[in-house]
Point group: C2
Chain length 647, copies 2
């Protein structure tokens, strides 16, 4: 057995040992992909285990995250800070080796994967970030590849289809995916549910496609060389592999997919592989092999670092630009100016903010899922990011919301670029898998969701969000901002851009709203008093703040003093101290929530004794003013309900 085969068997042995010890996990895929990993890491992947976060490293994505032991094994073997003890603690509390890889670039884990298709699409985002930075700083400073391992599951998921289509369209030539084509899914043969001409499909997307025996290491190396040689198309290398490679009874069977092999089969497999060591043993030769193999790339990293330092020292403008990309400082955003008493849709104000800050934030890129003109996401001073022009900052995601979600995450976890994505709020449903994964891994993605609530009007209930603000608030670590006016939109963008450890979603109006005052407001505190009063407090968000203010005037006329609180961001409010919360909501004043959406969750703020004014049903197709009337959202109706309730 040559050293490369021994290295592959080491990955297999570590993987089956760890899964067996945890009594849980997926041994089959690491066993099948071990040769692919050995070739990629020993010969191609430009990484430095001692400097895992250098900016120009190649990115690697394990899209089939259930094969996590493959990644932990190769990271350990190549000298990243994952120890044998960590591997022994696979899937245990507090270990860096959870069931599915969780993003931690300092360990060599670029993105969180597991939910299938996400890694595939996230990698497309990384390749876009690279193309942008390459154009900006030149190949001397940024010129790296994005590699990924993808599985049948990834290939079947719609999000991957969308991302593959866009990657082909954009000609992302430095994107190279190795497809673990093992003919087995979790429940059985792939043929139970899939009989496509996969490479034919990818060719239709505009990819270079290659076929190779996934256990023939020299052939794999050749295929990767061919992929690298095509600069204009992403490449899919279809690697024919055997899931559970080496297991006498489970190879090529679904039983190798998602359960430990069992002690007996582990022993038989090791015998078949000629593996004579104790559990969790790594032959010294294998460590040496990888150390030697990676030597040139460690050196490349050092040279790159020296070169970067030199260049930044020599060129102040370059240093400033680099800093703006890789170390963006907290931003303060001026409130866009409008005539007093004017009306503007918060989506339009958001567009104005984007364009106001675009020059000062060259790292900012983004786009929409075919709704740029509606979402107001266009950076007007810039063109489109295309296959032929990488300078454009506007990304045309096409009608591919889910891929947009993961691609924006990918740009943001790449580093050096900050990305936003837009669509109608209702279609946040289409990309929820990506929104959640971004929140879980702390990707600071920005979601520009517009046309919120029933007040988008005539398009009707298919397009009217009623539950989406609540449903987004439900996702941990996602901040949801529903601004009411120009100052709150500026604050929303400030909050979003200054978050570095998690995503922010905006809920913006289609319809015009009173633009409000010119001074800044504390969106970062989540809620504040916009009108004082002592008999009742109306807590409103977004378009309903103006309604609540008008209702308060009517109540005033009826001798009731109503406070109005604007609560653009519940998550920000929840982390304020009790004193601040009391100062805003008051103590012992009856509370009413006013939001044109489901009332679910407002009990947490107003109490079970409070009055929740909302809409606990789907909307309807009609002009917005008619809907306001029919669904009880005119100031008169709100005031009347509050009056009646107060008694």
């Amino acid at each position: 057995m040559n050293i490369e085969q021994l290295a592959a068997n080491t990955i297999r042995a570590l993987s089956i040992d760890a899964v067996q010890k945890a009594n849980s996990g997926h041994p089959g895929a690491p066993m099948g992909m071990a040769d692919m990993a050995v070739v990629l890491w020993s010969k191609f992947l430009r990484v430095d285990p001692k400097n895992p976060t250098w900016e120009n490293r190649d990115r690697f994505v394990l899209s089939n995250g259930h094969a996590s032991m493959l990644l932990y094994s190769i990271l350990h073997l190549t000298g990243f800070p994952i120890s044998i003890e960590d591997i022994e603690n696979f899937r245990q509390w507090g270990s860096p080796t959870p069931g599915h890889p969780e993003r931690d670039p300092s360990l060599g884990i670029e993105t969180t994967t597991g939910p299938l298709g996400q890694g595939f699409a996230t990698g497309v985002g990384m390749a876009i970030a690279e193309a942008k930075l390459n154009e900006r700083f030149g190949s001397d400073l940024v010129d790296h590849r994005t590699f990924g391992f993808v599985s049948d599951g990834d290939i079947m998921e719609g999000i991957a289809s969308e991302a593959a289509s866009l990657a082909g369209h954009l000609g992302l030539g430095k994107l190279i995916y190795l497809y673990d084509d093992n003919d087995i899914t979790l429940v059985g043969p792939k043929s139970w549910s899939y009989n496509e001409d996969t490479t034919g499909r990818f060719a239709a997307y505009g990819w270079q496609t290659l076929h190779v025996d996934g256990h023939d290491q020299p052939a794999l190396a050749e295929a990767i060389e061919a992929a690298l040689a095509d600069k204009d198309r992403p490449s899919l290398i279809s690697c024919k592999t055997h899931i559970g490679f080496g297991s006498p009874h489970k190879q090529d069977s679904a039983s190798a997919h998602g359960s430990p092999l069992g002690e007996e089969e582990v022993a038989l497999t090791k015998e078949r592989l000629g593996w004579e060591y104790e559990p969790f043993h790594v032959p010294a030769d294998v460590y040496e092999f990888f150390t030697g193999a990676l030597d040139d790339r460690r050196q490349e990293a050092s040279e790159w670092e020296r070169n970067l330092e030199m260049k930044l020292a020599a060129d102040k403008n370059l240093a400033k630009a680099w800093h703006k990309h890789f170390n963006a400082t907290p931003i303060s955003i001026a409130v866009p100016e409008y005539d007093e008493g004017a009306k503007a849709a918060t989506r339009a104000i958001s567009g104005a903010v984007i364009n106001a800050i675009a020059d000062d934030r060259p790292d900012l890129v983004g786009g929409s899922a075919d709704l740029a003109s509606s979402n107001n996401t266009l950076i007007k001073s810039s063109g489109d990011f295309t296959a032929n022009d990488r300078s454009g900052r506007n990304i045309r995601f096409g009608i591919r919301e889910h891929a947009m979600g993961a691609i924006v995450n990918g740009i943001n976890v790449h580093g050096g670029m900050r990305a936003f994505g837009g669509t109608f709020l209702t279609f946040s449903d289409y990309m929820r898998g990506a929104i959640r994964l971004g929140a879980l891994m702390g990707a600071p993605s920005i979601w520009v969701f517009t046309h919120d609530s029933i007040f988008l009007g005539e398009d009707g209930p298919t397009h009217q969000s009623v539950e989406h603000v609540a449903a987004l608030r439900a996702i941990p670590n996602l901040w949801v901002v529903r601004p009411a006016n120009a100052a709150e939109v500026a604050g929303a963008w400030e909050v979003a851009l200054n978050r570095v450890d998690g995503p922010t979603a905006f809920s913006l109006s289609r319809q015009g709203l009173p633009v409000g005052g010119a001074g800044p407001v504390p969106v970062d505190k989540g809620a504040y008093v916009v009108r004082d009063g002592s008999d009742v407090v109306l807590v409103a968000t977004g378009s309903e703040v103006a309604t609540a203010l008008d209702a308060a005037d009517i109540l005033e006329g009826n001798g009731k003093s109503a406070r109005v609180v604007s609560m653009p961001c519940r998550e920000a409010f929840e982390i304020q101290d009790d004193a601040y919360k009391s100062s805003v909501l008051g103590d012992g004043i009856p509370r009413v929530s006013v939001e044109a959406g489901i009332t679910f969750g407002w009990g947490d703020i107003i109490g079970s004794g409070g009055l929740a004014i909302g809409l606990d049903r789907f909307g309807a197709s009609a002009p917005a003013s008619v809907l306001a009337e029919k669904f009880g959202f005119t100031p008169e109706q709100v005031a009347a309900r509050v009056s009646e309730w107060l008694g």
Copy 2:
């Protein structure tokens, strides 16, 4: 101009008039697809406007629902109960002509569309339902086609890719989609975001693909004939069309897509089309043309009805079988038997229920997105539904959650079959677009979501639902049932199957739970008292009911009398009367919620003064017992928190 062209121009004129009057809508697509509609409806589509819901009608899906005026126009012209007045009230409150088509088979609207890709995948479900019923009842009683119009947006959406792949795999030869290939998306040229070889991609999926000039009516008819001739493959007919056909300044431009043409351009367009009538006028010839054209199909429908009646009268078994499929009566489900004190996962109990009722409910079909063995969705007495065997009741959806969602909706809105779909609860995110649309259109889909909460354990936070139960509860008209034991699982299935106007989602445990008693419990009332007590009430769901019961025992030992309420279905509880609610929750007793998920929304039940025990963060990878300890869900920890809180 021949009558067919006049008919197409009538559709164009009605569409632009209606959009203009509403001052809102999408004129371009109806103008472009008018010829396609005339050919399909005048020559092929087997429908009877006077008997719109006859079971063996062809199904038609307008997947690009924004082209709704095309559908309303053709329905009006062919004699469905949509009047000219309805068309004049396009997009107005209470009209049957909302912005996007809303399912109402009595009007000829088979499914709600608008969110792109949904119709495409829903049609695949209809074709599956047809194939099942055809196998069961023979071509004499069920033998129809499913036609659809689909757009660039549909083609780009991942859900359509997934559905197309499965349709090809399953050889759904009676599925025929006409692709409105007009090179324009909402924001601009399609080439901004898409340059695939579309038919090459569909060929890779296993579809027959055809190309035709979408304005050449005889060529369209020929292409449809060719599609019908291929019995083994679904067909995609790529129809090259001009969006905004006839508009001098807006044809072939995005400006025709989503806004009214404007009075002036409407006039110029009518001039160009040679259209000399008043707004909303339909030439008598055109009515006559369609009446004549549909005559044979009206006759077919009548003959079919007579034949059905005769057959059912002659064959009691057939009549009974037909009735079981098309008029399922309310079901009562026995609690599966377990040894007292045993433990079983609610997912396993659900599997037992499915198999217990399968014989009595021959209409029931379903499957999982590659997790059948984990979701326990297999009907063991039956095989798989495949291209070669339509008798199987198990559908292998593959790793295609979103398509599964819409396909299950499609089966359920088709009639005659009742379908469920399963995956891990966390991946409900991937299919949320379809879940929502099913709820909106009242499709009685059943979602078997398993591996709920952090207690799926080692797979970690990527797979652990913490917010999903809350996020599903947020969707109007979706009932969410999180059962605690065998009786509640039986009740959950009863509730789900007896709902006819909306979907139900289950949240089922991976881990074993005490099976509980053998008697039925009132899941249909949403909540009930499982242990009485007077000092505090613990409201729990699913796996936390057993925890709450154990905690109550501990509290009892400490001199506190704790009531435990199981609340498997919040939506069912909310519609109970106040007396029942009080009888369950008690009045003036402090309330505590116990659910291993986010606390968001529990304030609505326990009040702002209540104690919500939950988990407001993502989970972690570790064995379930460790997670219970770390996150405070052991009975001892729950009892201690309640004690401390009660003071």
